[in-house]
Amino acid sequence: MAGVSLRNVTLGYDTVAAIRDLDADVSDGSLTAIVGPNGAGKSTLLRGISGELLPLSGHITRHAPNPRDIAYLPQQSSVDRSFPITVKDFVSMGLWHQVGPLGGIGSRYAHDINRAIEAVGLRGLEGRSIGALSGGQMQRVMFARLLLQDAKLVLLDEPFTAIDATTTADLLNIVRGWHWEGRTVLAVLHDHDLVRSHFPKTLMVARDLVAHGDTAKVLTSANLLKARRMCEACDRPPEICEHKFAGAA
């Protein structure tokens, strides 16, 4: 089980709520797109589900309570691209839960690492520095690391933004593979055509829940209009939440 239940969840930074009183159940093994206007709180919602951000109020229940069951690809990655590290070593970090701080990686995982690098189409670039990669290649590297993490719940924040069509198609194949393997995948996306053709479920948010369910029923012009209207309210300063933010920044 790796679904997610959100009960009355308010998420935000300091005392400002970006997501308000959200209720939703993401079923185990589903492939769900999170859509909504800019500033709707999509990324905040994903950070909340990942456990990185604690809810100001409400409860988030992951049916995979172990942190190793969650893999999260943030939109603004904190990767220092100037760091001298090879593609292979970088991808190997996905093995953290297997090897920990001290365990050897050696030949035991060589096959897994090579398979992950091959799956994202970077065979032959194992020894290259991450600083020498293009943006698309770097995103492939991030996906290879996600593959090695072997998590039941995969969270992707705008994984295909500013990436060429070929790379997007290749990475989408990997996402579909995860779905096929029964993993729960949640992805924040902007491209509605891409959502319609590849994501069976959609969760539309605009600070609040707009609609959640089958993509064809959620991604309608009526809902999109409703979301835009709700987000015109978003353009006003967000309301101040009474609960003081309790989590670590």
Binding site: S50, E52, P67, R68, I70, Y72, P74, S77, S78, V79, D80, F83, P84, I85, T86, D89, F90, M93, W96, H97, G100, P101, L102, S129, R145, Q149, A249
Partner: protein, 287 residues
């Protein structure tokens, strides 16, 4: 000829042999720490910490004179206090870590100079600021070698989380709770190496042997492990040649060592195969 120039000073003079062992210990311990400081983009933080340890060392000096033990313990206490306080302030206020660290180390430095200059002479201040690699006693040598051993063992243990903390801190936090522990263990290593280094090179120069060889090594290496090897080698060669040249020409040893390391740095900026000016120009011509 070569024997007289390079080997004779070390064979004939005990203080030169002590200086050699002490400075080689620093090269092996401080240079790898400098590599991680550089890769964490905290090079200037080493400088700040070097100033921060001054009042502790000064208080140790006031209490028991030029005692290695007292000055070391005082320096460690002051360094760790500033590191922890600035960490706490940046986590609980709107100030970023660099701002709170800068405030603490400047106050700390001012306190240190006041204490040293009111309790001792200008010669003492000179000793603390620039060290005395040619006058290392047994206690100082033991300290240098102990700190280097401790540094290498600790680095071996935290190598993976520390590397992750540099290259992708968000990922480390998402997969493990070791981020804070790694950070503080590393800060402790910085403080320890600065405190032991200042016995030989002084507070100002100890940070030089940490950062300058590491900066040069970055332009010769494409992995952390080879960076560490290059940095230690540059540091060791700078120390040995600094000792030899200062022996023959009576220059101040500590600053001379850093000047030679600076020569390596300048040469690396020009000729370094990974990001040096000439290699970058070649790539520019090819493309």
């Amino acid at each position: 000829m070569i024997y007289d120039l390079i080997f004779a000073p070390f064979i004939e003079f005990g203080f030169m042999r002590r200086a050699l062992i002490g400075s080689l210990a620093i090269s092996l311990g401080a240079a790898p720490v400098g590599v991680f400081l550089l890769l964490r983009q905290m090079s200037l933080m080493g400088d700040a910490m070097a100033h921060a340890i001054l009042p502790g060392a000064a208080i140790g000096y006031v209490i028991s004179g030029l005692s290695v033990m007292a000055m070391t313990l005082g320096g460690i206490a002051a360094g760790l206090a500033v590191a922890l306080l600035s960490g706490v302030v940046s986590r609980s206020t709107a100030l970023r870590e660099d701002a709170s660290l800068a405030a603490f180390y400047l106050v700390s430095l001012a306190g240190g100079v006041v204490i040293v200059s009111s309790a001792g002479s200008m010669i003492d201040l000179f000793h603390v600021l620039f060290g005395s690699v040619l006058a290392l006693n047994n206690a100082a040598l033991v300290l240098l070698c102990t700190v280097t051993s401790l540094t290498l063992i600790t680095l071996a243990i935290v190598y993976r989380p520390l590397t992750l903390e540099c290259v992708d801190p968000q990922f480390l936090r998402s997969v493990s709770g070791l981020s804070a522990l790694t950070h503080y263990a590393f800060l402790a290593l910085v403080v320890l190496n600065l405190v032991s280094g200042f016995q030989a090179l002084g507070t100002l120069m100890a940070v030089g042997i940490m950062i300058v060889p590491a900066a040069a090594a970055r332009l010769w290496a494409q992995s952390v492990s080879s960076m560490i090897i290059f940095a230690s080698a540059f540091a060791a060669i700078s120390c040995i040649s600094g000792l030899v040249i200062s022996f023959h020409f009576a220059f101040e040893t500590g600053p001379l060592i850093i000047l030679i390391a600076g020569t390596f740095y300048l040469a690396s900026v020009l000729f370094g195969p990974f990001g040096g000016i000439i290699s970058n120009a070649k790539i520019g011509i090819q493309s």
